[in-house]
Amino acid sequence: MKKFLKNNAVQSLIASLLCIILGLLIGYIVLLFINPDGAWDAILMVLKNFLKSSLAKTRTKLLGATLVRTAPLLMCGLSVLFAYKVGLFNIGAAGQYVAGVCASLYAALAWGWGWLPCILFAVVAGAALGAIVGFLKSYCNVNEVISGIMLNWIALYTTNMILMSQKQQASHYTLKLKGNADQAILPTLGLDKLLKNERASIAIPLAIILAIIVYVVLFRTRFGYELRATGNNRNAAKYAGMAEKRNIILTLVIAGGLAGIGGAMLYLTDIEQWSVTQTSVPGMGFNGIAATFLGGLNPIGTIFSSFFIQHITDGGAFVDTTYYCSQISDLISSIIIYLCGFVLFLKTAINRGIARSEEREALREKALAAQAAQTAKPENVSANEKGGEK
């Protein structure tokens, strides 16, 4: 049992599950305060999402809808994760995601590019934004969180300005890809039939493959080792001959590219159109932060956690609006991020507990050995032993 608990992956899993349970519990309490009547149903609905339907066909369709949005969320999560492993907090993922949306939609609608070049262009756009943050961080010592936030807003307004030329005449949404740029819609590879959802596309397997690639790069290559070393101690990495400035910029370029793909992955399915009068940065990038930390800072864990975050976000949309609004799932995921801040403390506490009990055991064994040497009063010894175990 103790050996099992000592395992880092197990600890991460326990911590994440605790965060989820506590997050749901606190969310439930908040709902109870707002309106005690529907609180339990609302939480159940958030948790059920696609399971709410009794028809198998609708269930698969709704699951497909969640998966379509999980792919871009996973990319944003990977972006945050990649940077975090190098000691950088890429809150700019939200803006890099927007840049990806902008590039892919513009290339598709204005230039008539195919889906693959569109995705690549989105990578470039996101990476460019990441490069700015990286450059400012390594050469001008600007805190990457603040520059990231500034770039989020700059990216949002620039995107609105650029996509203005591609909007529908009667509304403030961009043109649909279907009918205007069919070549740019992501191929489905039969996933649409499997999930009974026409939006299910190559984006879903692609995102999972990229998660595995990120894992391999970070933990199984020299390059990844250098990046992580830079994250652990910038000066030590520099001393060991690693180009720490280049590593920081490169990290944010890669992180930006990952978030950029995310933008393309959602909008090239034609599931929704961009509103050019939008005045708030889309939440996808911020939810990515939740996914990363909930996933125990592991790319494979992030696959599951981003599905969970998207699952409860979609579930929130089904909540009875006479009682609550759909934002309760945002509330729950932000509580979960807050709780993730305590994970380190929890892990230290577990390890300390294990160490203490091991120490106690060692002491007891010693005492037992000492007592075994004295043969007097054997019954009392066993009684003491039992008391000690309690």
Binding site: C140, N141, I154, C325, L331
Partner: protein, 313 residues
């Protein structure tokens, strides 16, 4: 022109209040990235107070109670950051970000619930305070004077006196520079950091209510405060963590923010034919440039962002 001055002053007041909040927190050694969320919650407290005060309340009472509500909400909310970052040594960046997201989501959920409870068909997250807002405003000719302009200056002076002229302020700053040294002469680092964060909560809450009272007379809580908490952090860095310089920086940033509100009133600016979104972006672009130029030789408190560990040297 007068309009530009008015908006510059009011936005500068917001930035000044919040940046001073950040300044207290960072001088005590805690990076407060949750200012944005604290602003939202402070604004929520003030707006709710204005909504629930009976119509005939005298102006002074409205002002005082609204300010009090904003401060209380801000302080209570910032204690979430303090508990996590000071007592549990959590990562200050994660917790700050969580507070930002939680602030907007929580305020939206709460306001929507209150609106729907009052009127079942109302699913908006908007609070109106047209009447109550008048308590904060005086007209000098066409110049709309807002009491927050005075409050901001008073707090600036108070902040300077507290930080540099009192025992408390000097001890607070010591905890941000070298907490172990401070502890060795009997200063409780935990208490100092807690007070730093709580003060930043109070000022952040004040800044939040000031922000939603600037210009508009209703607020949609889904929108949060549009990155103002982070602009304030940029102001603080540009001001090199010193109150007077923060004041100057706030004026500069307030000016660029005001431009996006009033650029259409200037003939030569409209003649340039720049799209309005460019003016919207301006404060963020300026802050990026300013940060790039000033961060290199910034004198941040040395121990900021590092959880206090008694055993560390």
């Amino acid at each position: 022109m007068l309009l530009l001055l008015q908006y510059t002053l009011i936005f500068a007041s917001v930035l000044l209040l919040v940046a001073l909040g950040g300044c207290f927190s960072e001088h005590s050694g805690v990076i407060n990235l949750g200012l944005e969320g604290i602003m939202v919650i402070g604004a929520l407290g003030g707006a709710l107070m204005m909504r629930w005060l009976p119509a005939g309340t005298s102006a002074l009472v409205v002002v005082l109670l609204t300010l009090l509500a904003a401060i209380v909400f801000g302080v209570v909310y910032s204690s979430l950051l303090a508990v996590a970052c000071i007592n549990f040594k959590a990562d200050q960046t994660i917790v700050g970000t969580a507070l930002n997201l939680l602030g907007t989501a929580g305020a939206t959920v709460l306001v929507k619930a209150i609106n729907t409870a009052a009127n079942p068909n109302d699913h908006s997250a908007t609070i109106q305070y047209i009447e109550q807002k008048k308590a904060f405003i005086h007209y000098f000719g066409s110049f709309e004077f807002n009491w927050f302009m005075v409050i901001a200056v008073v707090i600036l002076v108070l902040a300077w006196v507290t930080l540099y002229k009192t025992k408390f302020g000097l001890r607070l700053m010591a905890c941000g520079e070298h907490p172990q040294a401070a502890a060795s002469v009997g200063i409780s680092v935990f208490k100092m950091r807690w007070s730093g964060v709580l003060i930043s909560g109070a000022l952040g809450g004040l800044g939040g209510i000031c922000y939603i009272l600037a210009g508009v007379s209703q607020w949609q809580f889904e929108y949060g405060v549009a990155g103002f908490g982070f602009l304030a952090l940029a102001v603080m860095i540009f001001g090199q963590w010193k109150p007077w310089r923060i004041g100057m920086a706030a004026l500069l940033f307030g000016f660029f923010r005001a431009l996006s509100n009033v650029y259409s009133g200037f003939d030569f600016l409209t003649a340039l034919n720049i799209p309005g979104t460019v003016y919207n972006m301006l404060p963020y672009i300026v802050s990026l440039i300013v940060l790039a130029l000033t961060s290199k030789k910034s004198r941040a408190p040395k121990a900021e962002g590092i959880p206090y560990d008694k055993g560390m040297r």
